[in-house]
């Protein structure tokens, strides 16, 4: 089973055409193995992207270097998945 330890989901809200363009370009960076939960849609609309742990640092540096602000939507994906599993187990025992 694939684990997602240290993966974060970042929320980016592009506020200019330039930022939107930069965020769209991220989709082509296959090495980073980004998983776009919400794809770039337009100015002011959130882009949510799951970032594997090894790609976190380079991505954040890239965003900051381009002046693109972001927030952390999910701090640790695996932690949420474990909570989900625990709840399922609890429900099936019940």
């Amino acid at each position: 089973t694939e684990t997602f330890v240290g993966h974060q989901v970042l929320r980016i809200i592009p506020t200019s055409d330039e930022e939107l363009q930069k965020v769209q370009e991220l989709q082509d960076l296959e090495d980073l193995q980004l998983d776009f939960w919400l794809e770039p849609r337009g100015l002011g609309l959130p882009v949510d992207v799951r970032v594997p742990f090894p790609s976190l640092q380079p991505l954040k540096v890239h965003l900051e270097a381009n002046g693109i602000s972001y927030s952390i939507m999910i701090e640790d994906v695996q932690e949420l998945l474990e909570q989900e599993q625990t709840e399922m187990l609890r429900s099936s025992r019940r």
Partner: protein, 311 residues
């Protein structure tokens, strides 16, 4: 460990494919005069594709279609589908909208539209979205079943790269999960409303996604959406946007409801359930029932409109 009755089933928890299939069997067994289970095909990995039929009798009545879980990681959608099934059974006599709808129409509900993907999310990779078909010449697996329909197939807003999450597949209807619905809709021939449920960006959308040309029924679909969203929001204050796919989210070709609309199913809609900005596909199980409840209110508006406006 499987529940023996749909009354003891935990609707506020996520469930595996086996548990959901067991739930369907229980629901059919408990309500033989209302619910039946149809197998409309088999998935890539040979799992049955089940549709629940809610009917008070008659043959080839006009029908209202709902599907959930075509994107397997959107767990709140399959969970909502289970809740809808139970809700229909519980309310089919007392709820005015549902009772009148079932007096003249049938309801079809496909709870797990992509069972291979769903099983995969439970066993191997919680983040799996696509089907599980293999492609010669590529190590990547799966097709985005919401880009595989014969509506602007292969156009902008879908990827030709098998490794992409929006890979449209080698040809339209290549995925048996899609082909099964296509065959069913065509052979039925009398489906009047088609609602496909996704998560998570709080949207109610109507065609088109593959072209900027507005649908001929745009005004009516927009008005229904406005009413449906108002009903949805009235329960917990969840804010939805609504509009055509291409103007509200982005261009997406080969999508489900573009195909159904082009088949003549005027009342074609797609939902993106909650949530915005907190959990995404990992919506906590305690939100399943509120999500389903609010969505049900919107579905009822669409049901009522479909009933009041035969075509």
């Amino acid at each position: 460990g499987l529940p023996l009755s749909t009354s003891t089933f935990d609707y506020s928890s996520y469930h595996t494919l086996d548990e959901i299939y067991n739930f369907m069997d229980l629901l059919v067994a408990e309500n033989p005069n209302l619910v039946s289970k149809l197998e409309i095909g088999r998935s890539t990995e040979n799992r049955p594709l089940y549709v629940l039929k809610f009917s008070k009798g008659g043959s080839n009545r006009p029908a209202f279609w709902i599907d959930t879980g075509i994107h397997s990681r959107e767990w709140v959608t399959q969970a909502s589908g289970v809740w809808f099934a139970k809700k229909i059974v519980q309310d089919h006599e007392n709820d005015q909208v549902l009772a009148s709808l079932l007096d003249t129409m049938d309801i079809f509900l496909e709870i797990v539209t992509n069972p291979d993907g769903f099983a995969f999310t439970h066993t191997k990779n919680r983040m799996w979205r696509k089907t599980r078909s293999k492609h010669s010449g590529s190590i990547c697996v799966g097709v985005d079943p919401n880009r595989n329909w014969d509506a602007g197939f292969g156009g902008s807003g879908a990827s030709s790269n098998p490794c992409s999450e929006t890979y449209h597949g080698p040809y339209a209807n290549s995925e048996p999960e899609v082909k099964a619905i296509v065959d069913f809709v065509k052979s039925h021939g009398n489906i009047k409303a088609f609602v496909s449920i996704h998560s998570y960006s709080q949207l109610l959308l109507y065609p088109y996604g593959y072209t900027r040309t507005p649908v001929p029924d745009q005004k009516e679909l927009h008005e229904i959406s406005e009413k449906a969203v108002a009903a949805l929001t009235s329960l917990y204050g969840t804010q939805y946007k609504y509009g055509s796919i291409i103007t509200t989210i982005y261009q997406a070709s080969g999508g489900t409801i573009d195909w159904t609309y082009d088949q003549g199913i005027k009342y074609s809609f797609t939902f993106e359930l909650r949530d915005t900005g907190r959990y995404g596909f990992l919506l906590p199980a305690k939100q399943i029932i509120p999500a389903a409840e609010e969505t049900w209110l919107a579905l009822q508006v669409i049901m009522q409109h479909t009933l009041d406006n035969p075509y």
